[in-house]
Symmetry: C2
Subunit: 253 residues, 2 copies
């Protein structure tokens, strides 16, 4: 890594440093390598620690670096492509579904979910928890909300809780005729539960994918899936992958 002092430039200092560091990562570091500590890096580039930290945070957002407690800052591997948009007409839990059911309970959902489902705010709905693992690591967590009206045959089944109950709810849901599904992606922050599952601190950036499953003119299920933004690229389309190895910052800076 070079030792050039940064000259004064019109763009913010942390942004210029980010570009210099990014080039150094390309040319001099390999995936998994631990960076020198902040004090040494700041001294080498002649910047304040606060400036250095801002630049490191940028590179973390871009998926170039990972900061892990007890390890330090390491060069991140390329993000994993995770298919999201395939099988536009499949219910959750059908054959090639990558999600693993973990649990299920019956409880009143958050008010926003009740409104989207068109159920009353105090009305309990089935809440299926599922998780998704890629290359041995949890990359996403989902809450799938299913109103009892969408699974009318369920009460007869003898599986009060756990993965068996979750699978029973999914099976019943598939008896309906799916008309279409609609998804939205936005930036969010990991809640306490997700952060624990992802081995991150609460507030770590996540990509939140909300999917509404429509059947018989109403919302039969609503999925709120939270993907780790540091390690995931969400892919849509036929084959589901677009390879851009330099990370998202391909626009000239």
């Amino acid at each position: 890594m070079g030792t050039t002092q940064l000259e004064s430039v019109p763009e913010p200092k942390y942004w210029h440093l980010r570009t210099v560091l990014s080039e150094a990562l390309d040319s001099e570091f390999s995936v998994g390598e631990i960076l020198p500590n902040e004090r040494d890096l700041a001294a080498r580039f002649g910047v304040a620690r606060a400036t250095l930290r801002q630049a490191l945070e940028q590179l973390e957002l871009e998926g170039r670096l990972q900061r892990r407690r007890g390890v330090g800052t390491t060069v991140a591997p390329p993000r994993v492509g995770v298919a999201v948009g395939t099988g536009q007409h499949a219910w959750p839990g059908t054959d090639d579904d990558a999600w693993e059911p973990a649990d299920c309970d019956l409880a009143a959902p958050p008010a926003s979910v009740a409104d989207a489902l068109g159920t009353g705010r105090e009305e309990p709905v089935h809440t299926v928890r599922r998780s998704r693992v890629s290359q041995g690591r949890p990359v996403a967590a989902e809450l799938l909300y299913v109103p009892p009206a969408a699974v009318p045959g369920l009460t007869a089944i003898d599986a009060p809780s756990g993965p068996a109950r979750a699978r029973a709810v999914l099976r019943e849901l598939q008896h309906g005729t799916l008309e279409r599904r609609e998804s939205a992606v936005e930036l969010g922050s990991a809640g306490a539960d997700d952060a624990k599952e992802f081995d991150r601190l609460p507030g770590a950036p996540v990509l939140v994918v909300t999917t509404r499953y429509l059947a018989e003119g109403r919302t039969a299920a609503l999925s709120v899936a939270t993907y780790r933004a540091d390690t995931c690229r969400l892919t849509f389309g036929d084959s589901g992958d677009v390879e851009i190895h330099d990370g998202p910052q391909t626009r000239a800076s």
Copy 2:
């Protein structure tokens, strides 16, 4: 907003404060309202300024707050849904396209783009700049890379640069037969150009949508589109909207 001191809790203090603040935003503030200054807020909740700032940053990530230079911190309007996935089989620039061509030049693209296009690293490609406006504000910027081989009829057209040239490239591209398109979404940070267009500082979080257009077995065009993560939800599917009014943090925290 309450004045209760925060009790000691097992979760990180900023995360607990974020939850308390989020509830206060729901119950006591309206969209566009300016929050009290950091010093007053920190004093009211009995936390350090650093803790307060972390909590405000979380709420900004979640799209609940906007921090604007010279104005202060305001309560954000709900994110705007921006359709991304409709017309799986349309070329860019066809009828219902929401993008406005701004400019076009012929230059060597970033190495990662050249690799994805399968062109040589020094080989110039047409680079169309387009922007997308929603409710009167720029919400996204795109660079569309088109190799000369995908627009063989272009050289005869007399429009050396500017929007006319951009439209000419798009028109020529549409003469090919689109086989399919593939997209990926990931978290990134705004480069200097995008930040300027969005009236944000460089490094502001953005959602980067990369789309590859395939024709005759090869990549005919590659789009790298950058959406403001603070104001946009990207929607996919038939009607293209899923309304969750509480923002992405619907998972119990």
